[in-house]
């Protein structure tokens, strides 16, 4: 029986070889010098049938702790939100899923209108003028935003809040190092916010990146940073990892932010062990032509009918090559479509309400923990995440909870050695009062 993905029969192959004028397929590979050809069979597992593969994957998946079975109180850049069944259903339509970058707009209007709508929803979410067709994730988007600022200001130093996601800061260092860009950190204060006074004394800075809600879940006052950095002729860059927070918080655009980079995974995208997520990147009009990656715009066809195309390609690598604003080619298009479907499903009213529910639940947990005597080190307002200090020896409790299918937050000592024994807890709409009460009971038992 032929492998189901390979249609050619022996007869097909024979007919084609005759037309080409060779006797065997291997002859075609004589175009490769003998010395370059591999003679050994590939040492890979024997081909599995569809059914063996299903069983194999089921077994791998069974070792994991999915949020449908476990109560996972971790956010920290990947959030557990309900995803309506309609969204993955629509996304699975082959017309969306199996197409590629819309190089031929006449037969790609579905992708193009969808991404145009995505761009628009993102600008409305963040209060910005322009949003790109997506980036890989928040960290890479934020790095590109900093590079934009360096290009624009021609200054070679960037400041990054110590409360930007630690992994975002890692990626920034990866991107900036070889480009010779200095990265300085703005430390955090006792209130769990970035220390504005530290920024005030810094000089020669192209941009400052501040995350809100920050890694401790605390909402930052972006305007105050914008005022300081603008006075220094630098750019204000906002970042975030929890997009749902904008249902309740003042958007970055109204706080003087020039460029926003963030993670869009919260917008209906499965956590999928960290990826693919969605990099959101938006700016004011002033930086439109500095933006990396694809942009979709409106135009008209020969009959004057509205249509959509990829545009401003002059920024991009396939036109500008080494002078491009970025090397990005494939982005996370389907994830952008996914996020747009999710935002459309929620609507403005739903988005706001969902954010409120997240906040309510997190505040409930916070209050219950305080009542139980657990210490909350940072008093500033938070959205759906916050830091707690659990009593010494909590790691044993943590393991006990794990065996009860509860993941009791993220230990912070790994990221902030001074916060050994502290945990970052997240509560979304997916956890019930019963789940929360159980956690409180268990951690204080």
């Amino acid at each position: 029986m032929k492998m189901r993905y390979l249609p050619h029969t022996q007869e097909d192959i024979k007919e084609m070889l005759e037309v080409i004028g060779v006797d065997t397929v291997d002859e075609l590979f004589e175009a490769i010098p003998e010395a370059c050809r591999n003679k050994e069979p590939l040492n890979l597992p024997k081909a599995m049938s569809e059914w063996e593969l299903n069983a194999h994957m089921d077994a791998l998946a069974a070792t994991m702790a999915p949020s449908s079975e476990y109560r996972v109180f971790i956010g920290a850049g990947s959030y557990n939100h309900h995803i309506p069944s309609s969204v993955p259903y629509l996304l699975s339509r082959q017309e969306f899923a199996t197409a590629y970058t819309p190089y031929q707009p006449e037969i790609s209007q579905g992708t193009l209108q969808g991404i145009y709508e995505f761009q628009t929803l993102v600008t409305r979410l963040l209060g910005m003028d322009v949003a790109t067709a997506s980036h890989y994730d928040g960290a890479t988007g934020l790095s590109e935003a900093l590079l934009m600022a360096v290009r624009k200001t021609k200054k070679n130093k960037v400041a990054v809040s110590a409360l930007c996601h630690p992994f975002h800061r890692d990626v920034i260092r990866t991107y900036m190092g070889p480009a010779g860009i200095e990265v300085v950190e703005v430390p955090y204060g006792k209130d769990g916010r970035t220390d504005l006074s530290a920024l005030e004394v810094m000089d020669g800075i192209a941009a400052v990146a501040v995350q809100s809600p920050n890694f401790f879940g605390v909402v930052e006052d972006l305007q105050s940073f914008a005022d300081v950095i603008h006075a220094k002729k630098g750019l204000m860059i906002g970042s975030f990892t929890e997009a749902i927070s904008w249902g309740l918080l003042k958007d970055p655009g109204s706080q003087g932010v020039d460029i926003v980079a963030g993670d869009g995974q919260s917008l209906g995208i499965p956590k999928s062990f960290g990826g693919p997520g969605l990099g959101l990147l938006a700016s004011t009009k002033a930086y439109m032509r500095q933006l990396p990656g694809r942009l979709v715009g409106t135009t008209t066809d020969l009959d004057g009918k509205r249509g959509f195309v990829l545009t401003l390609a002059a920024r991009e690598q396939h036109i500008r090559r080494e002078k491009a604003t970025s090397n990005i080619c494939s982005n996370n298009g389907l994830c952008a479509m996914n996020a747009a479907m999710y935002m459309a499903s929620l609507g403005g009213s739903g988005f706001k309400r969902l954010a409120q529910i997240n906040h309510n639940k997190a505040e409930y947990l916070k209050r219950k923990l305080v009542e139980a005597g657990v210490e909350i080190p940072f008093a500033s307002p938070t959205f759906n995440e916050f830091v707690v200090k659990f009593p010494d020896g909590f790691d044993k409790t943590y393991d006990r909870l794990l065996s009860k299918m509860i993941v009791a937050g993220l230990p912070l000592g790994r990221f902030y050695p001074e916060l050994e024994g502290h945990y970052l807890l997240c509560v979304t709409e997916t956890l019930s009062k019963i789940d929360i009460d159980q956690l409180v009971k268990e951690v204080t038992a």
Binding site: E95, E106, G110, F273, L334, A344
Partner: protein
């Protein structure tokens, strides 16, 4: 069917989401930092479903028909792999779960790395890069780190004329000035040219092999030797790996570092532009520089390890596009080693068959045995005032996705056809016959081509105005 924009639909107060009841007290978020929430339209579920269903009908996907987009490997995307990626154990796994509850995902990543090593004869793999270009960047960063570790600062990078635009752009992020290497009359690089250009200021060379003309760089071994002699490294762009699986191991012929496009070679859906996945394989020299975290296996237990002092660091927030890896891993397990080799064999067979049958109709840029794709031009149609663009648009009217056009840049009016191995001979014959018919039309009724497409949602679009007066949101 037409379909308005999202915000031309809906009514305030509708909702397409099942809002859970809140089982705890309301706690308002007040003060300066409170906002009003986004101005999104409110739609019911059926409105959302119809909106996207209608939009989808304006798109052409691989299941719609032949999609011979050169350099993009638009092969069939198996449905069963979607099942695997959506298993709750994988799709609903948080990336920061304790290691003891992440073993399946880590094992999958570890094994996928092993398979990619075997396919290339390389010594280590990182799965972290998010896409091909991101993999290039990771590779270049490692080359940079390698030279830096040796105390050298090199400033140039050899990049052939046939390269994808991502190659010079990736180099630029490390400050490398691209030095073009011309193609010879056979469409590949000359040894002498490389010898003349390579020096100790040059960090290395970025080679796509087979190159974007669909031709194998026959001088690759000599080129690698020259580059190595001058202390440089060889970067392999794996965009065209679908041509040579099992036939060539890049690590064995001198390549030091290369990326994969998992979504191309290993058949994951391209998603209208992504997500892709761009793992990078390296030889021993570059292994210390790999991004962190790395997946390691100690006595059947898998760990994420970050403790590598020479590492270039982290490339993404978490571990890369795991969901894409799941599909690629499933594809490799479904095909096995022999199946992958057969896929390459058929991909090359199909491209040569098309080349042979069409070379009298369209000008063939380089007439020799090609690998998985072949590049024609519009030279023969010029006399009728017909361009590659016209031919491409006319193909749409016949129900085919056009090939890649105007790339590679070294061929004027290029028409770059990559059939892949999943097309049937009947569909390929139909495609060939259609192109022949279009060539006749070009001569006899060129207006049919000029007016094409006519059967699509819209006719040709005004891209100039779009760029001059950009309207990027509504």
């Amino acid at each position: 069917l037409n379909e308005p924009l999202l915000w031309e639909k809906g009514k305030k107060g509708r909702c397409g989401f099942s809002m859970p009841e809140c089982d705890v007290d309301e706690v308002s978020f007040d003060g300066e930092l409170a906002g009003d929430g986004p101005d999104f339209p409110d739609l019911s579920e059926v409105e959302v479903v119809r909106h996207y269903t209608r939009l989808s009908t304006w798109n052409f996907g691989v299941d719609t028909g032949m999609y011979p987009l050169g350099s993009c490997t638009m092969k069939y995307n198996p449905k069963v792999n979607e099942r695997q990626a959506s298993l709750p154990g994988l799709a609903e796994a948080h990336p920061l779960l304790p290691e003891v509850r992440s073993q399946g995902a880590l094992k999958l990543m570890y094994d996928l790395e092993q398979y990619l090593m075997e396919l290339t004869g390389m010594d280590a793999v990182t799965l972290q890069p998010a896409a091909g270009a991101h993999g290039e960047l990771a590779g270049i960063l490692m080359i940079y780190a390698y030279h830096k570790k040796k105390g050298e600062t090199r400033t140039k990078m050899l990049v052939p004329d046939t390269a994808h635009g991502t190659n010079p752009a990736s180099g630029a992020l490390c400050g490398y000035k691209p030095v073009p290497v011309p193609v010879n009359e056979d469409g590949i690089m000359r040894v002498e040219d490389v010898r003349g250009l390579m020096d100790e200021e040059t960090a290395g060379i970025m080679v796509t092999n087979p190159n974007t003309l669909g031709l194998f760089e026959k001088n690759i071994r000599e080129i690698c030797d020259i580059v190595h002699e001058k202390g440089g490294l060889v970067y392999g762009d794996g965009a065209n790996l679908n041509a040579v699986m099992g036939y060539v191991k890049m690590g064995d012929i001198g390549v030091d570092v290369m990326h994969f496009n998992l979504h191309k070679t290993f058949s994951t859906p391209h998603g209208g532009g992504g997500p892709g996945s761009g793992p990078v394989a390296v030889n021993k020299t570059l292994t210390p520089f790999l991004p962190v975290p790395r997946v390691e296996k100690v006595q059947d237990h898998y760990h994420l390890v970050t403790d590598y002092p020479d590492s270039i660091g982290r490339m993404m927030t978490f571990y890369g596009h795991f969901g894409v890896m799941v599909r690629a891993y499933s594809y490799i397990l479904s095909m096995g080693g022999e199946g992958l080799k057969e896929a390459s064999a058929h991909a090359v067979l199909n491209a040569n068959y098309i080349k042979e049958r069409l070379k009298d109709t369209f000008h063939l840029a380089f007439d020799q045995t090609c690998m998985h794709e072949c590049v024609f031009s519009d030279a023969k149609q010029e006399e009728y005032g017909i361009t590659t663009l016209d031919v491409a648009k006319r193909l749409i009217d016949y129900g085919f996705h056009p090939p890649t056009i105007y790339f590679p840049l070294v061929v004027h009016g290029a028409l770059m056809i990559e059939p892949t191995e999943t097309e049937t001979k009947e569909d390929i014959d139909n495609f060939i016959d259609t192109l022949k018919a279009i060539a006749v039309e070009a001569k006899e009724s060129p207006e049919l081509l000029k007016n094409a497409p006519t059967r699509s949602k819209v006719r040709r679009l005004d891209e100039t105005t779009a760029a001059r007066k950009p309207c990027l949101c509504g």
